[in-house]
């Protein structure tokens, strides 16, 4: 069984090919380069490296978000187009779960964090149990203060993971004290091989055409429009 994994949900890019439980090749980078320049060309190089043809893969795993809207869409568009035209199964995995998977055997809660600007983050809370990484708090978009308040009630050590954790490290350490553990740099980038590992334990998408990113946030124009609708209703 040969898997292709793609993560372009945030600044880092990760692409991997895994065959029968072995990583044949993986490319990771966290340069702020437009994913449209690098994603497909890296995939092309990867196939050349492992000397496989596109049609030889058996399944595709993709990071479905949350993250940068454009970034997530590039990965999802590539993955769903490949899966549809090659007639292979597609599995979407949370970008946050993919990050948390870097600390797969950590004994405690894992909080993957991706910065969402203006003191907001995308975050989730995961825990390793019986060979599975389970979500104990749904992925979402939070003000960093609110997220930390809710984690404080948890009263246990939490591992913070992701390259954007550094931006919020002071706030985390201040609020969580002893219970704050910050993952070291080798664990901070999402890895497509981890993504594939998680995908192997997940359900495949039933309808590839209908597969879309998990934005975890409604578009601003739509939010404003909904608010206006509510106002109009109230004043009727």
């Amino acid at each position: 069984m040969i898997w292709l994994g793609i993560d372009t949900a945030n600044t880092p890019l990760s692409v991997a090919i895994v065959k029968d439980g072995t990583v044949l090749a993986e490319v990771n980078s966290s340069m702020a380069v437009n994913h449209s320049l690098r994603a497909m060309s890296t995939i092309e190089e990867l196939f050349a490296t492992v000397q496989l043809q596109p049609k030889e893969i058996d399944a595709i795993a993709v990071s479905e978000g949350p993250g940068s809207y454009t970034g997530v869409r590039i990965g999802v568009t590539i993955a769903k187009t490949l899966a549809w035209t090659l007639k292979k199964p597609l599995v979407g995995v949370s970008s946050l779960k993919t990050l948390a998977a870097n600390a797969f055997y950590f004994d405690g809660a894992i909080c993957p964090i991706v910065d969402a600007r203006r003191n907001n983050v995308y975050a989730g809370l995961y825990e390793y149990e019986d060979g599975h990484l389970n979500a104990i708090k749904e992925d979402g978009h939070f003000a960093i203060e609110d997220l930390l308040d809710s984690l404080k009630e948890y009263e246990r050590p939490v591992l913070y993971i992701g390259k954007d954790v550094a931006m919020h490290e002071v706030a985390i350490r201040e609020k969580m004290g002893e219970n704050a553990i910050i993952a070291p740099f080798p664990l901070q980038l999402p890895r497509a091989s981890s993504l594939i590992h998680m995908a192997q334990q997940s359900e495949r998408e039933e309808n590839i055409h209908a597969f879309t990113p998990e934005y975890r946030r409604i578009a601003e124009a739509e939010a404003n429009w909904l608010m206006q609708q509510r106002k109009d209703k109230a004043s009727e």
């Binding site: 449209s36 690098r38 092309e44 454009t70 590039i74 568009t77 934005y215």
Partner: protein, 340 residues
């Protein structure tokens, strides 16, 4: 022995998700367009983030449908042509990345097409383009006169210095309280009107082929403002008719003058505003009188579609133009010749 050339076109530069297959550069084998107008209407215009979200939902469906209607397999295709720019960058990226993934999976070359080259080549779907040729491009983002001495050779001889014609239509429509998109609404009102307000014409310098529509737009706003300040109300039909008359007169006169100066064999119109009934009639009449063949595609091929992208992609394919897996969206892409 001649073999047929099949090009898959993909277009996602604005608010239509489209795919089409064209045979030998002119025969429409399939042409699928998924429009977002119904969703975007509530915002009174195209919201880029919403456009991108819709494109991801539709992209593989429209490509599948284009293949299905054509009764073709990916292996039957020669290349994939995709709009590389200009347009909304987030929207362009969906078509481009789908095109790259599809091309890679099926071992096909990829070709990046300029959206306006696409609008021009929509004419190739109706009749052979004959050179030298003059193209009037009037769309939501462009108002240009382009001289072509051959396939893939583009010389810009005039362009708008401010608003594009379609942009002016949409803005004036908003002033008149008409729903988005405003162009067709104004066209309808203008044609039904028995009178027209007199608005200025922007001729610019006597020998210029450039256009300007922002002064006209301001004149409409001022006209409405003045009447309303005196407690009156405007007659939207008369305003629409006056505005349309001013736009059409300038577009027609400059296009005719350029066609004569450049001594072209054919004149074509393209882009969303070329769907305008008043403009089509005016250009038709003017070139009939000048005895220069004039063509404009049917309305569904004036607005954004992928057939025009595949039609432009075909001579590019034959000329050996190729993109690669690092193709990026180019929101400000310039129309440059591929055949110089």
């Amino acid at each position: 022995m001649t073999t047929d050339i099949y090009i898959l076109g993909i277009e996602t530069s604005c608010d239509e998700t489209a795919a089409s297959i064209i045979k030998n550069g002119h025969e429409i084998v399939s042409n699928i367009v998924a429009s977002q107008i119904e969703s975007q209407k509530r915002f009174g215009g195209v919201v880029p983030e919403i456009a991108s979200r819709h494109h991801v939902e539709q992209i593989t469906l429209v490509i599948e449908e284009a293949l299905h209607v054509a009764g073709l397999e990916p292996a039957d295709l020669n290349a994939v042509a995709v709009t590389e720019g200009p347009g909304l960058v987030g929207a362009l990226l969906i078509g481009i990345n789908a095109a790259k993934a599809f091309a890679f999976a099926n071992g096909l070359p990829i070709i990046g097409v300029h959206h306006i080259a696409g609008h021009i080549y929509a004419n190739q779907l109706m009749q052979q383009m004959e050179f030298p040729l003059l193209a009037l491009i009037v769309s939501g983002g462009h108002t240009e006169l382009v001289y072509m001495k051959d396939h893939g050779s583009f010389e810009l001889i005039g362009e708008t210095r401010d608003d594009a014609a379609g942009e002016a239509y949409d803005k004036v429509a908003r002033v008149l309280g008409l729903p988005y998109p405003g162009g067709p609404q104004i066209d309808k009102l203008a044609l039904a009107s028995d009178d027209a307000v007199d608005f200025p014409r922007a001729w610019l310098e006597p020998d210029s082929y450039d256009f300007s529509f922002s002064g006209l737009k301001s004149a409409v706003i001022n006209y409405k403002h003045n009447i309303e300040q005196k407690g009156g109300t405007i007659v939207p039909e008369h305003v629409a008719a006056g505005f349309q008359k001013s736009v059409i007169e300038v577009l027609t006169a400059k296009t005719v003058r350029a066609a004569k100066q450049y001594d072209v064999k054919q004149v074509i119109a393209a882009g969303g505003v070329a769907a305008n009934k008043g403009l089509r009639a005016s250009l038709d009449a003017a070139f009939e009188q000048e005895n220069i063949p004039f063509y404009v595609p049917p309305i569904s091929f004036c607005t954004d579609n992928a057939a025009m992208i595949a039609a432009a992609g075909t001579p590019m394919y034959m000329a050996g133009v190729r993109g690669d897996m690092s193709m990026n969206g180019r929101p400000g892409m310039q129309l440059t010749s591929w055949n110089e």
